[in-house]
């Protein structure tokens, strides 16, 4: 009896040692500055489903603070202590916003942890739409400027910006209709408020796969696994690749050692078959990048977006009124 309980005690101690000590010692909070049900949210819920396995059993708590291209969420994030227990979802839309209006932060002032996924932009219509190919749409829009209602997931957001780049590259104009996030935008496309919408994979993928929506083009170097039948823009004669990184930032001033600990956790997650399977199901494209690589990618993206916004004279800061 005594032996048995000793063994039990020992077993408990060993388990505690295997999990115990080290970072994290409590739940980690991830601020997702986008609406529940959107692309950012879906990805982070997949992360959080396997997070405890790689983080001493502590959960990743997701906090959605939606609206205004992520600004309120990031502001909330800025209040967090630089201890690695609060991280924030970061994507191109959030970088864009810092050049579109005066935000109390820049896209490069935080501590990059890692890049998680890199997803391609794709164009979709309802299954009953008159447009069968991307070129149908472009030809119609050129002949009838601003007649097509083209939905995006929020003014100045990543989807809106890719829309601008697509319109500029192909040389047509539409009426751009902003929604409060990707979920409502898909709803708006489904019930006919807009004729065409686009998003970064995997958003809307479920509605394509269940036959409600049709993909006109994927703006990727090659066809994507999620929609093997959907042609790329390149195949249709438009050499344009549009993608969106999603990654993680920690507060500025987080100790480098802590950043590396976080990076290691997410690297393990990105190699976890359970997470990989979930991402495959979601149609998102895992592309892990280290904190250094991700910092470089983000700096380049920041410069590129800034250049386009200032030459196109978009937003509050660069527009002349």
């Amino acid at each position: 009896m005594v032996k048995k309980s000793l063994a039990l005690l020992l077993a408990t101690a060993v388990t505690a040692a295997a999990w115990g000590g080290g970072f994290p010692e409590k739940p980690v909070e991830a601020i997702v500055p986008w609406a529940a049900g959107g692309g950012a949210d879906i990805l982070f819920r997949a992360l959080s489903s396997v997070f405890p396995k790689h983080a001493n059993g502590h959960p990743l708590l997701i906090k959605n603070i939606a609206g205004a291209a992520g600004v309120p969420g990031v502001i909330e994030f800025m209040k967090a202590a630089p201890d690695g227990y609060t991280i924030v979802h970061w994507n191109g839309a959030q970088t864009i916003k810092t050049h579109m209006s005066r935000t109390p932060f820049t896209a490069t002032q935080f501590a990059p942890v890692c890049g998680l996924v890199n997803d391609y932009y794709y164009l979709m219509v309802r299954t009953d739409s008159q447009f069968r190919t991307m070129n149908d749409l472009v030809a119609y829009a050129k002949a009838n400027p601003e007649e097509i209602n083209y939905g995006n997931a929020g003014a100045g957001g990543g989807v809106h910006f890719a829309q601008i780049m697509f319109e500029n590259a192909a040389g047509f104009t539409t009426t751009q209709v902003p929604f409060q996030g990707g979920g409502p935008m898909i709803t708006g496309l489904l019930n006919g408020q807009v004729d065409v919408a686009a998003s970064f994979l995997p958003e809307g993928a479920a509605n394509v796969l269940n036959g409600q929506l049709r993909v006109l083009a994927v703006f990727a170097p090659e066809r994507q696994k999620t929609f093997p039948d959907a042609p790329t823009a390149r195949e249709q004669g438009l050499d344009l690749v549009l993608s969106q990184w999603r990654g993680i930032y920690a507060p500025a001033g987080t100790p480098p050692a802590r950043i590396k600990e976080l990076e290691a956790i997410f690297k393990n997650i990105c190699e976890d078959p359970e997470y990989v399977a979930q991402c495959e199901k979601l149609g998102t494209h895992i592309q892990f990048s280290s904190s250094e690589e991700y910092a470089k990618i983000m700096e380049k993206e920041d410069k590129d977006y800034r250049k386009i916004i200032s030459t196109q004279k978009l937003g509050d800061i660069y527009s002349i009124k």
Binding site: V71, S101, P178, N191
Partner: protein
């Protein structure tokens, strides 16, 4: 179909499933009851636990939290005039007066029966005609959302109590407050005074807690030296009698239909549904002007309707793959995990999973009924707690509730700000409900107005020419006309009878 449904009923009584579901319901009721804690917060708290459950059990637990928190909000609304969730804001209007009359038990009994009725009705609707109902969700474009929110705003008059002018003043203040923050269409800051915390706008919860809970505590503070006055609560017959059921039948029917309908429309919810059905029940009632003085009809309508939104909200999620809020978004995720792909063909292709969830929704309503009936007898004992203990406890819950909202101290200060504002509103007879209504509907109206005008190329006539939108605009005109008529009548009555103003 019915064998799937019966199998689902049997499945929900298997030990683990039933226990986790029960946990969800109880957790939901407690969370709903505490001021400042809402169902979606409960969900976040339970999230780590949900991952250890079978996805099908997790689904039922989620449904339990969703339905439980809808009912739970009514307990605090009735007993201490503090709606536990925004969805219970209308329940308070007649619930608290009943408590003052010593009929808290009866009020709670009506609330739980109405909640269960609303849940059962919407589950039935979901079970029988979900694909047809999905059409409703699809037909709601920006125009319709805008007109619906305008219709919602017209019921401000109904939530105003006796003084229409003061009610409207409070309502417009709420609307004004809703414009604070970064706007969704242009990304421009409005009324933020360079305070970054205001960029996200003013959340409904600090206002709700401040105006209803804290202001009441401040007012109680005036009577601190008076002896604790215990109102004798009659707790013998909390079950509604047959006569009661006959009285509330119409209100119940209104609540069930309105709630299910509002629930179906993505992005709306219990807070809007409860006010709409309260107002409709008041207008269709023979003694509509007695609403707000403690009529059981005034509890039945909002309580059945906020619970009816739960079944309704599942319609677009299951049939279209569109989640309307956080709760259904997470349920959608859980469904995907068990390999169920929500969409138009779900009911025919994967009936088993759907009917298990629907059967669970049914069972949950009876669990609520059972727990609620116990709560009716026990919870009024809360009123015997001396104010010196009860009041500080409510303040603590208010602070904790507003803090957990965004783990943000700013919201706590905001709560105190609105507590003080609410205290003076009480002193000068400005009602709180219209303000809350303005704050809930303002952002919805604005966002959809912008989008509707973009799509219609600035053509305002489309709000009238689109049938459903036009229907709601028509209802709004009727509603305003009705309010003015009733106000005129009430005024002449009170002029002759020397009427007393109600808060």
């Amino acid at each position: 179909m019915f064998d799937y449904f019966l199998n689902g009923i049997v499945a929900s009584f298997s030990p683990v499933t039933f226990l986790t579901m029960l946990m969800g319901v109880v957790g939901g009721i407690v969370i709903g009851c505490l001021p400042g804690m809402t169902g979606s917060m409960g969900l976040v708290l339970m999230m780590p636990l949900l991952y250890y459950l079978q996805p099908s059990d997790a689904l039922l637990t989620l449904a339990g939290i969703m339905c439980g928190s809808m009912y739970g909000g009514s307990i605090s609304a009735i007993l201490i005039s503090t709606p536990g969730t925004p969805s219970a804001a209308a329940t308070m209007l007649d619930g608290y007066p009943l408590t003052r009359q010593g009929k808290a038990g009866k009020a709670l009994g009506i609330a739980v029966v109405s909640s269960a009725a609303g849940g059962i009705f919407s589950s039935l609707a979901l079970l029988l005609i979900a694909p047809a109902l999905a059409e409703v969700a699809m037909s709601f474009h920006a125009h319709e959302y805008f007109s619906l929110s305008i219709f919602g705003l017209t019921i401000m008059a109904g939530a105003s109590g006796k003084n229409l002018v003061k009610g409207l003043a409070a309502g417009w203040t709420g609307l004004f407050l809703s414009t604070v923050g970064v706007d969704g269409n242009m990304g421009l800051s409005r009324f933020t005074f360079d305070i970054p915390n205001l960029m996200g706008g003013i959340n409904i919860l600090p206002v709700l807690i401040g105006v209803f809970a804290l202001s009441q505590i401040f007012e109680n503070g005036e009577a601190i030296q008076k002896p604790h006055e215990i109102i004798d609560q009659d707790l013998r017959d909390v079950w509604p009698t047959f006569a009661d059921m006959k009285r509330i039948a119409l209100s119940l029917a209104i609540g069930c239909v309105v709630g299910t309908f509002i629930g179906i429309i993505p992005g709306t919810g219990g807070a809007i549904a409860c006010f709409l059905s309260y107002d409709l029940a008041r207008k269709l009632h023979r003694n509509g002007d007695k609403f707000g003085t403690g009529l059981i009809e005034g509890i039945a309508a909002p309580e059945s309707s906020n619970n009816a939104t739960t079944g309704g909200a599942l319609v677009p999620m299951l049939t279209l793959g569109i989640p309307g809020d956080v709760m259904t978004a997470v349920m959608l995720g859980a469904l995907m995990l068990i390999g169920v792909r929500p969409g138009p063909l779900l009911f025919t292709e994967q009936p088993e999973a759907v009917y298990t969830l629907l059967a669970g929704m049914f069972v949950i309503q009876f669990v609520i009924l059972a727990i609620g009936m116990g709560a009716c007898r026990v919870s009024p004992l809360l009123l015997r707690v001396p104010p010196a203990l009860l009041n500080p406890a409510i303040v603590v819950f208010s602070v904790v509730g507003s803090y957990t909202l965004g783990n943000n101290l700013f919201d706590v200060w905001l709560t105190f700000f609105f507590g003080i504002a609410g205290y003076f509103m009480r002193k000068f007879d400005f009602p709180g409900a219209p303000m809350v209504l303005g704050l809930i509907l303002g952002p919805m109206a604005e966002d959809h107005l912008n989008r509707a005008l973009l799509v219609s190329r600035n053509d305002w006539s489309t709000f009238v020419t689109r049938p459903i939108s036009g229907f709601f605009i028509g209802l709004s005109v009727l509603s305003i006309a009705f309010s003015f008529l009733a106000y005129g009548k009430g005024k002449s009555k009170s002029a002759s009878g020397g009427g007393k103003s109600a808060a």
